[in-house]
């Protein structure tokens, strides 16, 4: 294959937009430029119709009622609206929220804000496999608990939480269940009602739609949930999210949802085979570990630690050709390695050595083969450069070495 081509294996960061979604959007930039809130002329009516249709497409993907879909600017806004909106709306019932240590920052930072506002937050631990302990969840629920917020699938490892079991516990205890389903929607079947999820955040750009548009699912019956608006203004989206709707974005989101519904099963089968091939190819290297529960995982994701190789350095060996992400500290401004992997009990050394590969609808078999070759070559090169690999090969117990932490 053409080695100058850049191979994209970072689909958990964002996905390319499906050309069919782009085609659907284009008229709403040009000949149909109306504001969906303009009630007095055909430009507005056409835009409103397009938004209504997209709302149905998105709702269909989730087997939800279109009225349960609130359009936002993306999953971060949806997470904020869901958590802060419940905290305000249900303040008379309690002030306690339960979440996990491995949530996305959009949830964790919002929860920190809730704590500053006087709320109580419990952060559940996860096991080595990335899954929460259901007994610990149930034990954490008090009479002050108003919300359990647990992500559907993790962005770094792809690990899928036992959603139905969590939903059952929340139903039994009578607390609201919210999920950040950003990484799951459009890729695996997600049905909030059947699962017992009352509020759910997700976004278009992780499912082959455009960036800048997302949604919050808010259950309308059994129970009827309300969230306090966090954006004040014209009262759009049934008063829950003011702001002129991003009509072309919403149209693209809708089309992406329709395509996902039709293609999800086929994509998942193809991608899990490719992912397994990638994983098997890379795990031929010595001292290579897959992070997260392999039995409950997104079909397109693998997170691998290559021991005694630093993730960012490793990426530099192939990032002219292959785009991936690392849990290495060096890729973050904080110099801390991935908090998700550390919460799973990985040593900081293995967390620094991790690479996340996330495949997508447009990933080919040829690309996976090239990636196996290029990444293996990179790992071997970096190990040749690594003093700790040399020490490991000489049989030195690295735990017995007194390191000068810096």
């Amino acid at each position: 294959m053409d080695k100058r081509r850049l191979i994209y294996l970072d689909n958990n960061s964002t996905t390319p937009v499906d050309p069919r979604a782009v085609d659907a959007m284009l008229p709403y930039f040009y000949e149909k430029p109306g504001n969906a809130a303009s009630r007095s002329h055909p430009f507005g009516w056409v835009a409103e119709e397009a938004v209504d249709y997209a709302r149905e497409q998105v709702a269909n993907l989730l087997d939800a009622d279109p009225k349960e879909i609130i359009f936002t600017s993306g999953a971060t806004e949806s997470d904020n609206l869901g958590i802060k909106g419940v905290f305000e709306m249900y303040a008379s019932k309690g002030n306690h929220i339960i979440t996990t240590r491995t949530e996305h920052k959009a949830v964790l930072d919002t929860c920190q804000k809730i704590e500053k506002l006087g709320g109580q937050v419990t952060y559940l631990e996860v096991g080595n496999d990335g899954l929460i302990d259901l007994v610990a969840l149930e034990a954490a629920i008090t009479d002050k608990t108003i919300l359990v917020c647990i992500m559907w699938a993790n962005n770094e490892t792809g690990v899928i939480q036992p959603m139905k079991a969590i939903g059952d516990i929340c139903a039994k205890k009578g607390v609201l269940f919210m999920s950040d389903a950003t990484q799951a929607v459009g890729k695996i079947p997600v049905n909030p009602r059947e699962t017992g999820v009352h509020i759910m955040a997700f976004t278009s750009h992780k499912m082959y739609g455009p960036k800048g548009v997302g949604a919050l699912y808010v259950s309308r019956k059994n129970p009827r949930v309300k969230v306090t608006a966090q954006m004040d203004g014209g009262g759009h989206e049934r008063g829950m999210r003011s702001g002129t709707l991003n009509v072309p974005g919403i149209v693209g989101f809708g089309k992406a949802a329709e395509i996902a519904k039709a293609q999800m099963a086929e994509d998942a089968i193809r991608l899990s085979a490719l992912r397994d091939k990638l994983e098997a190819g890379l795990c031929k290297l010595e001292e290579t570990y897959v992070n997260g529960n392999k039995g409950s995982r997104m079909p397109h994701v693998t997170n691998i630690s290559f021991k005694h190789v630093e993730g960012e350095g490793l990426m530099m060996t192939f990032n002219q050709h292959i785009a991936v992400s690392s849990g290495s500290a060096c890729t973050s401004a904080s110099l801390e390695p991935s908090y998700v992997l550390v919460a799973m009990g990985l040593g900081d050394d293995l967390a620094h050595s991790s690479i996340r590969f996330s495949l997508g609808r447009f990933t080919t078999d040829e690309e996976v083969e090239f990636a196996i070759e290029a990444v293996s070559k990179g790992v071997n090169h970096m190990r040749d450069l690594s003093p700790i690999w040399e020490m490991y090969k000489e049989g030195i117990d690295l735990n017995s070495v007194i390191w000068s932490a810096h």
């Binding site: 630093e310 003093p387 810096h406």
Partner: protein
Amino acid sequence: MAYSEKVLDHFQNPKNVGTLDKSKKSVGTGLVGAPECGDVMRLQIEVDEVSGLITDAKFKTFGCGSAIASSSLATEWLKGKSIDEALSIDNMDIVEELALPPVKIHCSVLAEDAIKSAIADYKQKNGVETSAEVSVHS
């Protein structure tokens, strides 16, 4: 983050990768950093007994591109220098030469520590009085 040309060059063509015989009296070894911090550098120098000059320098580094480039550059600079000249290498010289961004300055600090640690090891082996104080950043 994009890397500077010089970092990329040292990363793609690292100079002086390897291992010197640490049991030799003429070889000083410095091992700094920690795996859990994401950086470990091992830097070695070989000193000519007669001239007192560093005749060879080798490194191996576990770390990001900037850490590898910093140690590669350090070994290049060390060759041909006297011990005292080597001790005067400052981490900011490395920062400047490689155009390291602020978030990567610790890589240069680690390289300076590795140089000082290798020299201290050599001096200790050879019973040389330490004139300059060896300060290891923490």
